[in-house]
Amino acid sequence: MNTDNNIDKYRRQFLASATAVAGLAVAPGIILTQVAHSKPLDQPASSKNRWGLLIDVSKCATGCNACVKACYTENGISGVGSPTTDAQWIRKVKLTDKQTGHVQSLPFMCQHCETPPCVDVCPTGASMKRADGIVLVDKHICIGCRYCMMACPYKARSFVHEPIHDQIFPRGKGTVESCTLCVQRIDDPNGPRETACTEACNAEGHKAMWFGDLNDPESEISKRLKQYGGVQIRADLELNTGVRYQNLD
């Protein structure tokens, strides 16, 4: 009996190992089909893509902060309880029309301009725009002059006012930062994934935010923009923003 039990035990172990080995052997094939559509890590970003966001203001719920929370969890943004100095990569903005009193609410973050004023003014080139339209700060060459914060028309940037510990992605005292469009998700070896904010908005059931490639006419974001239109914030500055809004009165 004991011998039979041992044999069964060995068989189970063998089968488990065999399955694991088989899995390891097959997995690359499965992953490869995905990688074929994504950017290898050693390749630069391509100007064939223009990553962006679309926000339907009519669907954004007043009081809902799911996108903000998701962003801070994803990117490891935690303040020290000082509202004037804590970083805010994304914020909810409440708009009340001065004439009519009509109230709207929307998430607001770096608008990922095609011609970003922050990139123009940065003395070292730390503020930069990737070929795929994402505006980023290179934390290694940012000298913390804050000129980009003076230049940004959207007040999208924050300065790190205190030492930071346990960061998930590169952050550091004395440098400037802002929404990265979850670049770590876009550069995922398994293929681009949507941003944390859009994912959270969908999970909440509001479905007010879309992430996608503005250069791809077949993407959901492009189709929606083509069908329903969309506006840029401070369109008068002609910065051609990567973040667009719908139903903003």
């Binding site: 000082s82 914020r91 009340t96 003395p123 070292t124 002059c145 230049a151 006012h161 401070r234």
Partner: protein, 410 residues
């Protein structure tokens, strides 16, 4: 008119060492403030994500603007060939370099990552006006120091006017660059204006001359050297012209804004608001920095030397107020992100942001000022920078005793 005899400061009196001790105390306090801010981050300052440039920038930009203005006296002698100013040209050049050094020191030590200064020199974004300014500042040091050397080395005196002309063009470019740091900000209604560059040039004339005048009068009075009324009166009237011109530019800037409906909110905030910015504008910039100096300069009945010193000190105080109004006021007023809407958010959108400078920021600024003054004194002590006498008959080619008595009465 005799050839002036240049002499170093003796620098042995108790007063001299007391002055040095005070300067060292300020420099030490500034250094301590820097270390404190660098260690803890900017959270220990009054600056935040709304007011990103605070008191250090007020001091730094003031000193940088004044630096190019301090070169005026040298420019007037070299470029415009006014002989009366020639004996003071070397001091003018050294003051320009010192003020720029003090200003840049503050600016660099207020960076989030001051230890990365080398990056600012090696990584270069050619489209950044800030990066252009780095070249302009370094160039200013080089050109003015060469100019100074040509003035002090007798064999090469003949080349000094060419260098002076080049320095004059460079200083105009430098202040245009400094003004454009603000003028090129498309996003902010308070700054987005081409007039800021020439306005800063005019400010620089006034601030630089005011500091120069105080230094000259202090140096000559404290060392017991002769300072004639002719040069004092010249500087006094010149300061009046610069202060008047500054007020004119401020008037045009605000009148233009008042004409545009979209700027009414900003203008109301500056001109008729209930924050300290409005008080600083009217009492600091306009009254103390403009109107009272003009009265002291142009009204008869004041002693020339006292009028020059008091009006210069007031112009300096008004200049600091002007920088505060321009730099802090421009950030305190909310960005027009959603025109026509009342905007509310956790990130202080749509509200006027308040700013209270912290002690370390002020000490860092004063430390920079102390460094600038120390360098000037050090140079005067070790180089033959200023003439032994600036008596009227020694510097004024058109001197007659009658002029002296007429100017003494002024």
């Amino acid at each position: 008119m005799k050839k002036p005899r240049f002499l170093e400061l003796e620098g042995r009196s108790t007063g001299f060492f007391a002055l040095l001790a005070i300067l060292f105390a300020f420099i030490a306090a500034g250094a301590g403030a820097f270390l404190y801010m660098e260690h803890n981050g900017h959270i220990v300052t009054g600056m935040n994500n709304q007011i990103v440039w605070g008191m250090p920038h007020v001091f730094a930009v003031f000193l940088i603007v004044a630096a190019s203005g301090a070169l005026n006296v040298a420019s007037i002698s070299s470029v415009f060939n006014r002989k009366m100013y020639k004996p003071l040209a070397p001091l003018s050049a050294i003051l320009a370099v010192s003020l720029l050094l003090g200003g840049l020191l503050i600016l660099v030590l207020d960076l989030g990552r001051p230890e990365r200064l080398i990056i600012a020199m090696t990584y270069y974004n050619p489209k950044s006006i800030f990066a252009w300014n780095i070249l302009l500042y370094n160039g200013f040091f080089a050109i003015v120091l060469v100019y100074l050397w040509l003035m002090l080395e007798r064999r090469f005196n003949k080349y000094s006017s060419i260098a002076g002309f080049f320095a004059f063009i460079w200083r105009l470019t430098l202040t245009t660059g400094t003004g454009s740091i603000f003028g090129f900000l498309v996003a902010r209604s308070s700054f987005d204006s081409a007039i800021l560059a020439p306005m800063f040039v005019i400010f620089s004339f006034a601030y630089g001359l005011a500091i120069f005048a105080v230094i000259v009068v202090a140096a000559y009075t404290w060392t017991g050297r002769t300072l004639g009324n002719a040069i004092v009166q010249r500087m006094r009237t010149l300061l009046g012209v610069f202060v008047g011109a500054s007020l004119y530019f401020v008037l045009v800037f605000h009148l233009t804004n008042l004409y545009f409906t979209k700027e009414h909110g900003f203008e109301k905030f500056i001109l008729a608001g209930d924050t300290s910015i409005t008080k600083l504008f009217w009492i600091g910039q306009i009254l103390i920095g403009g109107v009272i100096p003009l009265v002291l300069i142009y009204m008869k009945g004041f002693k020339a030397r006292s009028a020059l010193v008091v009006s210069s000190l007031l112009v300096i105080a008004g200049g600091i107020a002007q920088m505060f109004v321009t730099i802090i006021g421009g950030q305190a007023y909310p960005l027009p992100i959603f025109p026509g809407k009342i905007v509310q958010s956790s990130f202080y959108d749509g509200v006027i942001n308040l700013y209270t400078p912290s002690l370390p920021e002020i000490l860092l600024g004063l430390g920079g000022v102390a460094v600038a003054i120390f360098v000037v004194i050090f140079a005067m002590k070790n180089l033959r920078l200023i003439p032994e006498s600036l008596a009227d008959d020694e510097i004024d080619p058109h001197y007659t005793p009658a002029t002296e008595s007429a100017e003494s009465a002024a």
